[in-house]
């Protein structure tokens, strides 16, 4: 201990004529001047260092998603040029129609999105010649995840590089504030990869599962692209149950199915009940069920618009039942709590039907969501 004291005295720490106080004063003064002059740049540099780690993580995720897609595609393909074709598909984009004249924009968006979906499906079907329609749907979903991961990585990298170039603290602040949400979404997408590859149900399929349980055992009819319906009797009321056709990864066209039942088949439901998965707020329990009114359907808004239009035109009340879950849970394999939510939602819907549809009356139940791993 004595020798250590000697060493410390030698370097002027705590000894006679304490040098360290002077050194510390100089250090603090230098630190103050440096921070006054370069404070923002140092802060931006430190934040950029943190962001660079996240960008690297996103790059790894993007590469992993691509590897998954290549492996999955090769399983069902006998072509040797799978990778270059996949790399081309991974960079597909769609251009949103102009909203300068918003009249009819929903139809335009629908048209463009249908075109995009058809193009991807055609490409997949051409490469994966050995896949059946269920597997083609699942491959499409895996590719969609690859496209999303690629876009997320490119956009984050763009702002990171731009922030690095300009050293602008405001750009870096915005990016750092958004990163936790972006990383959460990216991780959730990666969790969905294995679910789609193995055709396992995901949290988003909660609504589809509710519908599937209602229509189990009844005769099913195809009513729109990738969409089926079945007429069932619930407590003396006839109910048409609509869901996407499973067990492949489809979301179907519930809006077209509803419109067809009402306008082409001439059916007049007393109510339409829509059941879907909904994002929970932090602090809320997974699998919690809530009721409300309106069209319970996510997406860009095209289907929601169509359903609202039909409901308004014929004066049909729209009831909504949602099963809450986080974003990660929505695209990860369905967990036990969500199944409990599904069973509760079924009971709630039965109660709504008893309350709102007279005995002998007619209603529609729509199970919204991706039906991967869920039959009917």
């Amino acid at each position: 201990m004595l020798s250590i004291q000697l060493v410390l005295s030698e370097i002027g720490v705590g000894g006679e004529g304490d040098n360290i106080s002077t050194v510390l004063q100089i250090v603090f003064l230098t630190f103050f001047i440096v921070m006054m002059t370069y404070g923002q740049k140092i802060q931006a540099w430190m934040m950029l260092k943190n962001i660079s780690l996240s960008v690297e993580r996103l790059r790894r995720m993007r590469d992993e998603a691509r590897i998954h897609a290549v492996r999955y595609l090769k399983e069902y393909s006998d072509r040797s040029d799978v990778e270059p074709i996949l790399d081309r598909i991974l960079q597909y984009f769609w251009i949103q129609p102009t909203s300068l004249d918003p009249t009819g924009i929903v139809g335009k968006i629908e048209h463009i999105l249908n075109l995009r979906d058809e193009r991807i499906r055609e490409e997949v079907a051409a490469i994966a010649s050995k896949a059946n329609p269920i597997q083609i749907s699942n491959i499409e979903n895996v590719i969609e995840i690859g496209i999303s991961m690629d876009q997320i990585y490119r956009i984050v990298r763009h702002f990171y590089e731009f922030g690095k170039k300009t050293k602008s603290i405001f750009i870096v602040y915005q990016l750092e504030a958004q990163l936790p949400f972006i990383l959460q979404e990216a991780e959730a997408l990666m969790g969905a990869l294995t679910a789609f590859e193995n055709c396992q149900p995901i949290g988003d399929g909660a609504g589809a599962l509710v519908a599937a349980r209602f229509m189990y055992g009844a005769e099913k009819h195809r009513i729109a692209k990738d969409t089926v319906y079945a007429d069932v009797i619930i407590d003396g009321r006839t109910v048409s149950v609509i869901k996407a056709e499973g067990p492949g990864g489809n979301v179907g066209k519930p809006d077209q199915a509803i419109a067809r039942l009402i306008e082409e088949y001439g059916r007049r439901p007393s109510i339409i009940v829509m059941v879907d998965a909904a994002l929970k707020l932090e602090g809320e329990e997974t699998g919690e069920v809530a009721e409300g009114v309106g069209a319970a359907i996510g997406g860009i808004g095209v289907e929601k618009f169509r359903i609202e239009e039909v409901a308004k035109k014929y004066g049909i009340p729209l009831y909504a039942v949602v099963i809450k879950q986080s974003l990660k849970e929505a695209i990860s394999p369905m967990n036990r709590k969500i199944y409990d939510g599904v069973y509760e939602a079924i009971e709630r819907i039965k109660r709504i039907i008893r309350e709102k549809i007279p005995v002998g009356g007619y209603g529609i139940i729509v199970g919204v969501g991706n039906t991967v791993g869920i039959g009917q």
């Binding site: 250590i4 720490v13 149900p201 067990p247 394999p333 369905m334 967990n335 791993g373 869920i374």
Partner: protein, 135 residues
């Protein structure tokens, strides 16, 4: 793609080892300064004690920060929940229910043979991940 080369990994490990060594040295010196500070205060050498205390605290904060960065470094293998997918099958007529390991091709509402109790249809009702431990 996305996989570091062997030489890249070796360089990274060397840098990490040096970083860890520096962090630990700073930590040890900081503790030493703090012990000296206590000694100085016990001998009523307030000025000396303050210098040592300040140096010790700054060093301790710096070393702990460096160690926390080291612990949170990307690529660190952490203990994660080990999950396996299970499939629940139920009889549509009686109370028969069985949970087994998921097998490829299972999907919810898939008919899965006959009930060993009543002979009616058995269907898959649930497929979900179950925590089986940590790795």
């Amino acid at each position: 793609m996305g996989i570091l080369s062997a030489s890249g990994n070796r360089n990274r490990n060397i840098v990490l080892a040096v970083y860890l060594l520096i962090s630990v040295i700073i930590l040890l010196f900081s503790i030493l300064f703090l012990i000296q500070a206590i000694q100085a205060y016990s001998f009523y050498q307030y000025e000396r004690g303050f210098s040592l205390l300040l140096t010790g605290v700054v060093g301790l904060a710096l070393s702990l920060y460096m160690l926390s960065v080291y612990m949170k470094r990307p690529g660190l293998i952490r203990r994660r929940e080990l999950r396996k997918m299970v499939t629940v099958v139920e009889c549509i007529s009686c109370d028969y229910r069985n949970k087994r390991e998921y097998s490829y091709g299972d999907y919810v509402l898939k008919e899965h043979g006959e009930c060993p109790v009543c002979g009616k249809k058995v269907v898959v009702t649930e497929i979900y991940p179950e925590v089986v431990g940590k790795k």
